[in-house]
């Protein structure tokens, strides 16, 4: 387990935060350092800096367990539909990374049925990244 935890410490994550991460995600013991690095690289791909990456992982350790292919599909869907500055979106709501494409698509379709245009919906979500879960 040591190497994957070292990968996280190198981001500047404190021991206290690490303790919380391991409490929330005991499966981290079983995630290889390569997989942890892969998740970090995905965040770098959308221009997250070290502070964003640290914030995302500390707030949402579940992100490390997500399938990389699902995260990349989510990123592609968001980009294809006009979302920009994904680094800021994920930093503003680290749990956004836990969505699957179908969840965002369902929300977008629902709001289109409510009469909004796609760019309004993108704006709405970028302005309030928690809106998808707000019933």
């Amino acid at each position: 387990m040591g190497e994957n935890v070292e990968e996280l410490f190198s981001l500047g994550i404190s021991e206290e935060d690490m303790k919380n991460i391991l409490e929330q995600n005991s499966n981290l013991f079983n995630i290889s350092s390569d997989l942890v690095k892969e998740k970090i690289d995905i965040l770098k791909y959308v221009n997250c800096d070290q502070r964003h990456i640290k914030n995302i992982i500390v707030s949402n350790p579940e992100y490390l367990e997500r399938e990389s292919s699902d995260i990349l599909k989510l990123i592609k869907y968001l980009k294809d539909n006009g979302f920009t500055l994904l680094n800021l979106l994920f930093d503003s709501n680290p749990y956004f990374l836990n969505y699957d494409v179908f969840e965002i698509r369902d929300y977008v379709n629902k709001r289109i049925d409510d009469g909004l245009e796609l760019d309004d919906i993108v704006d709405e979500v970028e302005n309030n990244p928690y809106i998808i879960d707000e019933v």
Binding site: N30, N55, E62
Partner: protein, 369 residues
């Protein structure tokens, strides 16, 4: 002699009696018992299991003694070939030692069958690692369970996601799950909220309702009303998985940033998601807003914690460049939606952030310090 040797390995008298009785019943003799036991025990230790784990496995599954340690090693190799990491295999053996007696071809078929009903390969590996007893379930029963979950109010894709996130759900009956939903409704949530909470935090299905009631009671002592708690916990159902000490610590951590207890409680009522943000993230934003004279921003409007500091900084600097000084009366201009801002000033958020880079400015001011 046999008993003494087994005691040396760490078995108790009752373990020894159980193993000897079961082995003798299966084999009509005690011959080779110790040889098999020691072989299996040493093989399990060589995999990285602890002494206690090895004893637990050989005790819970004495049929393992029917296998030579070399056969067990081969079985483990075959399971690895299915895609499992050694750490996962160890976990599975400890939780479900019977896995060592399963036919590999049947395990492979179960994996394929689960993929046919919609799971990815990784999801199947994750589910079966957490709940190896799934290998013993009939695929039609698994399918039926998923369908019954959709009847409770989830879409099929949501069911696949929930069961992957929380594979332990396969250890629950639909009746238990339905009862949990009903019990949560009696706590004051409506059905829609309960479904939403389960989607966000499916582990809630494994929590004891009385413990949930106690958590709400404990949180009420923190000066929340029942209504506050329904909003907070339906927005952040993960709080049910935190100890009350951890919730209190989170409140204290936010207070350490310079807020009073009452301010933090009020902030969390208006923006429960504050419990899920990292302290550093809140600190960075607070420092920025304090530096521009908006010290009370998060106290009065904690939802503004949503916006990234990069965008707030860029907007602030833009307004400054056109002669608008942001203050307590016009601060909402920092949070205007992009469409309206762009219509007015012809700049997107992307444009602004390129023009006024928060990180570069911070690095500059650090150099000057």
């Amino acid at each position: 002699m046999l008993v003494e040797k087994m005691k040396e390995l760490g078995y108790t008298d009752s373990d020894i009696e159980k193993i000897i009785n079961q082995y003798t019943a299966a084999n009509n003799t005690k011959n080779n018992l110790f040889k098999r036991l020691e072989g299996n025990y040493k093989m399990l230790i060589s995999l990285g299991l602890s002494r206690n784990e090895a004893i637990k496995i050989t005790k819970e599954f004495p049929l393992l003694l029917a296998y030579l340690d070399t056969s067990i090693e081969k079985k483990i190799y075959n399971i690895k070939e299915l895609g499992y990491e050694m750490s996962a295999i160890k976990k599975m053996i400890i939780a479900f030692p019977q896995i060592l007696s399963l036919d590999i071809a049947n395990m492979e078929k179960k994996i394929e069958d689960m993929k046919k009903i919609g799971y990815s390969n990784k999801a199947v590996l994750k589910i079966t690692t957490a709940c190896p007893h799934v290998f013993g379930l009939n695929i039609n029963n698994i399918k039926n369970m998923l369908i019954k979950l959709t009847e409770l109010g989830f879409k099929y894709e949501e069911v696949l996601k929930i069961t992957t996130k929380y594979p332990e759900i396969f250890g629950l009956s639909i009746e238990n799950i339905s009862k949990k939903i009903d019990d949560m409704i009696t706590l004051g949530y409506n059905r829609l909220l309960v479904i939403k909470m389960i989607k966000i935090y499916p582990n809630i299905l494994g929590l004891n309702i009385n413990n949930m009631k106690k958590k709400l009671k404990d949180m009420k002592k923190l000066e929340y009303t029942n209504k506050d708690l329904l909003i907070i916990t339906s927005t952040c159902p993960q709080l049910f998985g935190y100890t009350i000490e951890r919730i209190k610590k989170r409140i204290n951590d936010i207070m350490d940033l310079g807020y009073s207890y009452q301010e933090v409680i009020n902030m969390s009522k208006k923006f429960p998601q504050i419990f899920g943000l990292s302290i550093d993230a809140i600190k960075v934003k607070k420092e920025f807003y304090d530096s521009i004279g908006l010290e009370r921003l998060f106290i009065d409007y904690p939802r503004n914690l949503m916006q990234s500091v990069e965008l707030s900084y860029a907007r602030y600097m833009f307004y400054k460049s056109i002669g608008i000084e942001i203050n307590k009366d016009n601060f909402r201009m920092l949070f205007e939606d992009q469409k309206r801002f762009k219509k007015r000033y012809n700049y997107s958020n992307d444009d602004l952030i390129k023009m006024y880079n928060y990180n570069e400015e911070k690095a500059k001011s650090r150099t000057l310090d």
